[in-house]
Symmetry: C2
């Protein structure tokens, strides 16, 4: 099992971030990880597993989130701890994540 890949901030692109967040499952995951006000909470795959998405697919989604730079994943015993890299990204693209999360949450509320 090869170690997880995390880009440095200068490898992070707007396109990559938007692509990672352009999938309904992935924004939902990211919104949960980022928590309120971009604080750093953590989640495992199980946390999203209500929706009956195969775990291989979920694993790929997490990979895309990691490799876009949005989250950092660390093995914590048998499970995974994911934290949002909000501060770093906000330093590079101020306001971007807040705007996306705000829009996503306002939309999610209306359903």
């Amino acid at each position: 099992m090869r170690p997880l890949l995390h880009p440095s901030m200068d490898e992070v692109t707007v396109e990559g971030l938007l692509h990672a967040l352009s999938d309904p499952v992935r924004v939902a995951i990211y919104a949960e990880i980022a928590g309120n006000g971009c604080g750093q909470s953590c989640t495992s795959l199980a946390a999203v597993r209500e929706q009956a998405i195969p775990k291989s697919t979920l694993s790929q989604h997490f990979k895309i989130l990691r490799e876009s730079g949005l989250i950092r994943g660390e093995r914590k015993g048998v499970e995974m701890q994911n934290t949002a890299r909000c501060a770093e990204i906000d330093a590079k693209f101020p306001g971007l994540l807040a705007a996306v999360l705000g829009a996503y949450r306002s939309q999610a509320k209306k359903r």
Copy 2:
């Protein structure tokens, strides 16, 4: 030739917008159409044609931008006039487009 499709604002989703903007060619096109401060300038396919992208591909890109709700396309004689639907989208998702365009432009500057 079937008429161009434009979603109403309640068909517009965050995911759709992000997907449309997650492609390098499409953000570039959109940034140009949106112009400074989201004013409404116009563009034809030709305006982006420097990059040797086949016109069938460009046509698809414009279609995705239209159908996500980002732009409105109207035939103006022999060519196309595209305008950004900034105001409408900003009413629905305040600050989203400004943040994305801001991030994109700051990134584009550094190359």
